[in-house]
């Protein structure tokens, strides 16, 4: 479904991602893990067009952004496609640090997520589905999203991404900054999303829970993919565990 080949991203002279290749098949839950600063978020940003967007708005200024390699989604090359068109193809990015529209209510945030949908009925149906998945959001639907707790904001961010009928959902570090109970709650929901038939690419730092629920994993370090495979296989590798996963 998603196929990345030899992707390289440079900001100025710093190479953030160095020649990585990865694929996500339909129906899979795949994780991309690695320590802070490994280039996980940049990888997602390159896939969903934000790097291209940044490049376009910084045109003519000193910091130079380079993007090489190919990204293919459902058989179409998208590495030069603008971010909003990629979203329209069903590749949805749920960004790092949740990023709710802080001044808007929960309901308005969800409606913003459904921006691409034309039919009112479809929006209603998706809203019902999201509220079913996150009953907490229904209780808070008229609260301003900036005043929600971190966990609630994360649920809102995922819910907002689900509103547009994603085919592939990329979630960036959903557990960061959450209390342990909230973390496992969020991971349970992600599992349910996979069971709903949505392909998920999950970026995480915290691997112990992630490896128990994913189909395959990629380990990223200093912009390179250093290992890939099923969770239990990766955990068998002593060096990998100690050096990169911190277990």
């Amino acid at each position: 479904m998603l196929e990345i080949s030899n992707l390289t991203v440079c900001y100025d002279k710093a190479m953030i991602i160095n020649d990585i290749s990865l694929r996500v098949n339909e129906g899979e839950l795949v994780s991309l893990v690695g320590p802070n600063g490994a280039g996980k978020s940049t990888t997602l940003r390159a896939i969903t067009g934000l790097v291209t967007w940044q490049k376009s708005i910084h045109r003519g200024s000193s910091d130079d952004i380079k993007l090489q390699g190919t990204v293919e989604f459902m058989g179409k090359r998208i590495e030069r496609t603008p971010a909003h068109q990629i979203a329209a193809m069903g590749l949805i990015h749920c960004p790092e640090r949740r990023r709710p529209f802080r001044e808007m209510s929960v309901l308005e945030n969800l409606k913003a997520g459904a921006y691409l949908l034309k039919s009112k009925k479809e929006i209603e149906d998706n809203l019902r589905q999201v509220y079913e998945l996150f009953p907490r959001l229904k209780e808070r639907s008229h609260q301003v999203s900036g005043t929600l707790s971190g966990g609630e904001q994360q649920m809102l961010a995922i819910g907002r991404a689900l509103m547009s009928n994603p085919k592939l959902l990329c979630i960036d570090e959903p557990s960061t900054g959450l209390a342990p109970i909230m973390r496992s709650e969020v991971f349970r929901k992600i599992k349910r999303i996979k069971e709903m038939g949505i392909t998920v690419l999950l970026v995480e730092q915290e691997v112990s829970t992630v490896f128990t629920m994913t189909d395959r994993n990629y380990v990223l370090s200093s912009g390179k993919i250093i290992a890939e495979g099923k969770g239990e296989e990766l955990l068998k590798d002593e060096v990998l565990r100690k050096t990169y996963l911190g277990l």
């Binding site: 934000l50 967007w53 909003h84 960004p95 990023r99 529209f101 001044e103 921006y115």
Partner: protein
């Protein structure tokens, strides 16, 4: 006297509100500090003068023509002049100052520096105590509220309004929701400049038209935006009336107060920046990487 102050502050306050809301909108969505905003207001005023006296339009069609023309002008100027430099704040600042001066000089060439007026839509006044309230003033004040009400409805209830608010709060995330950020920015520019045109159209019967008429509202508008909080439409609304009232108080109560008009705004601006730099309802922009 008290009644005169009230009327002046309401009329001026509503002018500033209309201008500042347009200015906030364009800043919030497109991150453009549009110094030329009030110059578009001046162009709208001249446009009404021109269509009324030279082309013989009736007042209503003159107003509509002015609004459409100014919005169109704003769109063209944005496409060829502002968009290529949009991400470079200093360049935008310098560019829009240049644009404002260019528009001023164009009006000076076309219409000379003479003071011009257009007739009121409805003539006559009501006598309340010692104060006169012109019907035109009531009409202007009422139209401001209708326009701002429609603007609010548009922002809260329509899809484009939702996209505008989302982009203003976090344009990167708005992009990820499938909103075409550059198209939304362009629409915001057209609406914002159109609103400056509407302001010109509504205010023109109460004011004199001259090529420098954009200077004072510009200073007031900046002060309003600083007091209300950059990017906050609600803040701009309240701050406009606070400043309109402060200005009217000084003009009426201080001897030779009319010369201190600009000083009031600038003093308030400095005090706000010292005490509460975010303004009354300042929006904290999500940091962008």
């Amino acid at each position: 006297m008290a009644f005169d102050i009230l009327i002046t502050s309401l009329i001026n306050g509503s002018t500033y509100a209309m201008l500042a809301i347009g200015f906030s909108l364009i800043f919030g969505v497109a991150r453009i500090v549009n110094i030329a905003h009030t110059a578009f207001y001046m162009v709208a005023a001249y446009c009404i003068y021109f269509t009324t006296y030279r082309l013989g339009f009736n007042p209503i069609s003159a107003m509509l023509a002015a609004i459409v023309f100014v919005a169109f002008l704003g769109w063209i100027v944005y496409l060829i002049f502002i968009r290529p430099i949009r991400e470079h704040e200093q360049a935008v600042l310098i560019g829009t100052i240049a644009l404002a001066i260019a528009l001023q000089e164009l009006m000076l060439i076309a219409f000379t520096g003479d003071y011009r007026t257009v007739p009121a839509l409805i003539k006559g006044f009501a006598q309340i105590g010692h104060a006169k309230v012109f019907y035109q003033q009531i009409l202007t004040f009422g139209s401001v509220f209708v326009v701002l009400g429609l603007m609010r409805l548009f922002l809260m209830k329509t899809k484009l309004g939702l996209a505008i608010r989302a982009t203003a709060q976090d344009r990167e995330t708005a992009n990820l929701m499938g909103m075409d950020e550059s198209r939304v920015a362009m629409m915001a520019v057209i609406i914002s400049v159109g609103l400056a045109g509407v302001t010109g159209a509504i205010i023109v019967p109460l004011t004199t038209i001259e090529p420098f008429m954009w200077n004072h509202p510009l200073i007031m508008m900046m002060a309003v935006v600083v007091l209300g909080g950059m990017g906050s439409i609600k803040g701009s609304f309240y701050a406009s009336f606070i400043l309109g009232f402060a200005e009217a108080l000084v003009v009426f109560l201080v001897p030779a107060g009319a010369f201190l008009k600009g000083a009031v705004a600038l003093s308030i601006m400095i005090i706000v920046l010292l005490i509460r730099p975010a303004g009354l309802f300042g929006v904290q922009f999500e940091e962008e990487r």
